[in-house]
């Protein structure tokens, strides 16, 4: 899967989903064993509900409404129960979990993630259970998406892996290389807006002094600024 695919950096759902997909891939590449229990229960519930409604459709189509009324009534009630349970499962049991598994060293890990509306920060909650001592720990890591997405919207795996390896010892124990790598940005705080712009832009901005960065910026620094400012769309000059 080429990570040269670009996503829209303004779409919070895209940012979250791409990152959510990348973390299990990373952990699996480190030989973590995933536990599919949550997903399997969800799939079973969902597909049984779907199968029930398909059966209802079939007998209604074949035998008509009047003769199958009672069956349909039971089917609708059971479907509501299944769907209700599925919703409960997703909201209260899964709770945003994107990975659950065991490290090669025997520690259990569970990562759930969330985002808040209009804030480009990735909030991770990591629950660890030590394999040998059985001790449980919960870590909260929040990082701005700018740490592993470039201005054009390409996902860069290394910084995300570094964040995880350095933030979570269970992962760091397995991925020595990333745990030792230099941290790319300051930890903890959301990245200030200035770090999003390229160095040329910052020079030009500080030089101009005027707040409006209009056409002067585009013609002065050419297409690079246009790309960073307009989120990947090139302006015809």
């Amino acid at each position: 899967m080429a990570s040269q695919e670009k996503i829209t950096i303004y779409n919070l759902a895209d940012l979250k989903n791409t990152t959510d997909d990348a973390i299990p891939n990373y952990l699996t590449s480190l030989k973590f064993t995933p536990s599919h229990l949550l997903t399997d229960v969800r799939l079973t519930l969902g597909f049984s509900a779907f199968a029930l409604s398909a059966a209802c459709f079939a007998w209604d189509y074949k035998f008509g409404f009047e003769s199958t009324k009672t069956y349909t009534a039971f089917a609708v009630a059971l479907y509501t129960v299944l769907n209700g349970f599925l919703t409960f499962w997703i909201l209260y049991v899964e709770k945003g979990t994107i990975y659950q598994g065991t490290s090669p060293k025997g520690d259990k890990i569970r990562i759930s993630t969330e985002t808040k509306k209009n804030i480009p920060v990735y909030y991770m909650t990591v629950e660890i259970k030590d394999g040998k001592t059985g001790e449980k720990k919960t870590l909260k890591i929040s990082k701005s998406f700018t740490e592993w997405f470039d201005a054009a919207g390409r996902f860069v795996a290394a910084p995300l892996q570094t964040v995880l390896a350095q933030g979570v010892e269970v992962i760091g124990k397995v991925d020595i290389k990333r745990a030792a790598a230099k941290a790319t940005k300051t930890e903890g705080e959301p990245v200030p807006a200035a770090a999003v712009y390229t160095p040329e832009m910052l020079d030009m901005l500080s030089g101009a002094g005027v707040s409006v960065v209009g056409s002067a910026a585009e013609t002065a620094t050419g297409t690079e600024t246009a790309e960073a400012k307009k989120g990947g769309k090139r302006r015809k000059n």
Binding site: E5, N17, G46, S53, C56, D60, T72, V76, T80
Partner: protein
């Protein structure tokens, strides 16, 4: 979104989400059908025979249970003519007898209907030899309506090319969204 198909569980989950949307819509329709006891609890008015009360394109909500009273004169009912699939929305103008459940030799009421905007009653619409309706022929009485909403259904069935145009537009939107 499609890029996640490398993982079979993820593909199954996407498929499940799509399937659940369809099945929930269907089950909601069936649920309404069962509650109102009508095979088609929502119908679209196809003709102008009930003007000025109902216009072509109005959406009608039907209720087919006689919880408190029998179907009486003055109610607007929807019925299917024997062996035809076209629902007709007209008003009950006369009733002969009482009772609507076939119990032993107890007779059931005979009903005659007529469209408000028609000159004569529905005798000529019924099957040959049939001069009246019984309660079983009726698939519901009108208990609510939404004007004009059903016109899309009429347009789609009278101008089938519009279905192709609509599908084409939806296809375009999906393709453009991928970019």
């Amino acid at each position: 979104m499609l890029s996640a198909l490398g993982n079979p569980r993820q593909a199954a989950a996407q498929l499940m989400n799509f399937g659940l949307i369809l099945s929930t819509a269907f089950m909601m329709w069936k649920g309404l059908s069962v509650i109102s006891d009508s095979p088609s609890p929502i119908v679209v008015v196809l003709s102008g025979s009930m003007e000025p009360a109902f216009q072509r394109g109005d959406l009608l909500l039907l209720w087919n249970r006689n919880l408190f009273t029998e179907t009486s004169v003055g109610e607007v009912v929807v019925y299917n003519v024997k062996d035809k699939d076209i629902p007709i929305v007209h008003r009950v103008i006369s009733k002969f007898g009482t009772g609507f459940v076939l119990l032993r030799r107890r007779p059931t009421a005979k009903l005659l209907t007529k469209g408000d905007n028609n000159d004569s009653d529905d005798t000529k619409l019924y099957a040959p030899g049939q001069n009246y309706l019984v309660r079983e022929d009726i698939i519901g009485s009108v208990v609510g309506y939404m004007p004009f909403v059903g016109y899309v259904t009429i347009m789609l069935s009278e101008h089938p090319w519009m279905k192709t145009v609509m599908l084409g537009i939806m296809g375009l939107v999906v393709v453009l969204q991928r970019e």
